[in-house]
């Protein structure tokens, strides 16, 4: 027995030594051409009619531990299997999704469907994921179809789409005497102050300790400028992107204004006393019970807050209080996108595409979760009523030659927006400790950002 292990080890070892770690890309790259042509494209499949006797086993990896825990995912699988009884689906959910999934992708055998981690630069998507179809084939039907697309090919289908706003408790707002929803940072801070003065609720709950919740602030950056090209095209070529008044010329809008809301709220004592021991799950109940006034989170959070207690009707959702030239914008975009493993067998790929297509078109997943629908033809959920008349700003993709510019600049500057919690946390810490002003922090960010822009952006 020992010998056997030793031999296996030695054999595997020599392979790994010879091949190095570049091997996975080479082998997967070469398969793209072979298998790409024979399969039907994603848009050509009709769920419920095609391939109903297909036999396959697929593994689906997502970040929704909550939905696995309450049986929602199993319910989807069961509904799907009514049409496709021979497709077996195993769900797996990961708590620390972004980190773990990136590591797992180095193993070609990771599974069949996953939510594509944003750590993979767009030009390298084809090394890991199967090109589902041409962008032109679905962009008229699907919202945000270009989120994980490169060079005209779609690699990921949005799992759910979000509008970025603020969850608030209507009862708390009423008790505090706030009659109109704030539309600028100043109005918002005034409203928080009213909550503090007139109620027992915590005006703004940061959810600092959960970590990932702090990345929500980044999501408002796009909306704060009113410019769809800002995130992926302009920002990574702009010096001092975090300075006050950039790019709108008004310090009440733009990235600086977003973080200034956080900084001021903490500094004025409008947030929880001890951010280090905050608790995400508990915050849902507190929000539902009116112990919290507001939380900044994507629209996906609304349903969870409503379900966390008896007061679902008290939960409201409003756009982030930033206006550009008097017009209020809100960022909108896709959450994680489903991608299909390029190394899966043909049958597994088809089964995966069918399941993804069913999830996005027929499962009502996005609607149930309070998101913007994946299909343009689907209805908006009621929770987004307050967004009527608000301009949604979806970040436009960069042209192909600049496709990975935004992620390169962000990672180089160590300001990975929407993924890295440390910069948001730093704002909270500075405001509590009083050892740094927001301008000090922004000066640091800008210095790193400018270097990264100089290194990565085309001159």
């Amino acid at each position: 027995m020992k010998k056997a292990i030793a031999l296996t080890l030695a054999a595997g070892l020599s392979v790994s030594l010879l091949a190095g770690c570049g091997s996975s890309q080479n082998s997967s790259g070469s398969q793209t051409g072979e298998s790409g042509s024979t399969l039907p494209a994603y848009n050509e499949l009709t769920v419920g009619e095609d391939y109903t006797d297909l036999k396959a086993e697929i593994k689906v990896i997502t970040n929704r531990t909550d939905l696995e825990g309450d049986g929602t995912l199993a319910g989807y699988v069961a509904a799907f299997q009514e049409m496709y009884p021979n497709i077996t689906i195993t769900n797996e959910t990961i708590t620390d999704y972004a980190n773990d999934m990136t590591t797992r992708l180095t193993n070609p055998d990771w599974g069949d469907v996953c939510m594509i981690p944003t750590t993979i630069p767009l030009p390298e998507l084809s090394d890991y994921f199967y090109p589902l179809c041409d962008l032109s084939a679905i962009e008229d039907e699907y919202n945000f179809a270009d989120n994980r697309a490169y060079d005209g090919k779609v690699y990921g289908i949005p799992s759910i789409c979000n509008a970025q706003g603020v969850v608030y408790n209507k009862a708390v707002f009423e008790e505090a005497g706030i009659t109109e929803l704030p539309t600028t940072p100043t109005e918002f801070l005034d409203a928080l102050q009213k909550i503090k003065d007139n109620t027992d609720a915590i005006p703004l709950y940061t959810n600092y300790a959960a970590g990932w919740t702090m990345t929500a602030w980044d999501a408002y950056i796009g909306g704060s400028t009113g410019d769809p090209n800002w995130m992926n095209v302009t920002m990574p070529q702009t010096h001092d992107a975090f300075a006050p008044g950039v790019p709108t010329g008004d310090s009440e809008s733009g990235p600086y204004a977003v973080f200034n809301v956080l900084y001021q709220a903490v500094k004025l004592g409008l947030t929880e006393d001890d951010p280090t021991t905050t608790d995400w799950e508990g915050s849902k109940t507190m929000m539902n019970n009116g112990e919290i006034g507001t939380m900044v989170l994507g629209s996906w959070a609304v349903v969870q807050m409503q379900q966390a207690g008896p007061n679902a009707d008290d939960i409201g959702y409003m756009p982030f209080p930033i206006s550009v030239d008097g017009v209020q914008y809100a960022s909108a975009g896709s959450d994680y996108c489903y991608g299909v493993n390029i190394n899966s067998s043909d049958d597994e790929k088809i089964a995966s595409m069918l399941y993804i297509k069913w999830l996005s078109e027929s499962s009502n997943f996005s609607y149930d979760q309070g998101g913007i629908p994946v299909l343009k033809s689907q209805e908006y959920p009621e929770t987004l009523a307050a967004f009527d008349g608000i301009e949604l700003v979806a970040d436009a993709p960069a042209p192909t030659e600049l496709a990975d510019l935004a992620s390169n600049v962000q990672q180089d500057a160590e300001l990975t927006l929407n993924a890295d919690e440390t910069h948001g946390k730093r704002v909270v810490e500075a405001a509590i400790n009083g050892d740094e002003t927001l301008d000090d922090i922004v000066a640091d960010w800008n210095a790193a950002w400018n270097d990264a822009v100089d290194r990565n952006a085309p001159q």
Partner: protein, 285 residues
Amino acid sequence: MTNEIAIIKIKRLILNIAKYALLIFSAFVALVPIVSCVITAFKTDEEYATTNVMTLPESWLNFDNFVIAWQKADMGHAFLNSFIVLVCVLAGSVLISSMLAYVLNRFKFHGNSLIRNLFTIATLIPGIATQVTVYQIMTSLHLINSLPGYIILMMGTDVITIYIFLQFFENLPVSLDESAILDGCSYFGVFFKILLPLLKPAVVTSAILKGVSTYNEYYMANLYLQDKTKYQVVSTSLYVFSGPMGSQYNYICAGVLITIIPALIIFLLCQDQIYSGMAAGAVKG
């Protein structure tokens, strides 16, 4: 003279009081986080929400939280997997470490001290830092998502176990080996028939130390045993509580206690052997 004795007696008394005060205080410090956990684990949802954390629960027979935690975290399965992992890892690492220690202690050969140094330096290499490359190696060996793979990884010799065995061999007289060899025993025979049985105290000690660290290891278990429905071990089953049940400390505490209890029982049963094993190992200067 009597005076002197009296002074010594008083001194002893004061020292004794100080000693017990210190011991009681530190035992309190060591246990209080767990005690708070026990208190919370017996509270109902409502009690947890309304009473102070150190208020005793209404009923000490409220095992509901334990049942819920057990089911939510699928702990029956987790315990089975942990048991398999433990048995294999312990058997493997005891055998490997004792063989290594035997060779290093009994035979003089070129590279003996080099090998000792290699193992010592290995403890200094931070495991978290090499995690990416280890993952690639595990991938190329097809050891991901398999219990044997995780077991092999965990067996990877650790220096404390080797050290305990090395010390132990130092105390087993070489004359034992020599007389056995005169009787016609081979070196393998000497090791397996004569020395290994004598190593029992060292085996128990190292098995306990290694066992505790294996049982509690979560970083690699999470990374390499990905299919949680099949390969979940006790430590990773706790991840359930950082997800949807993150705030319900009454469940979390129950889950934590469930995972501690088996380790505690085994420790209490083997406590004497650990110390005598350590002593017999004669960890001398």
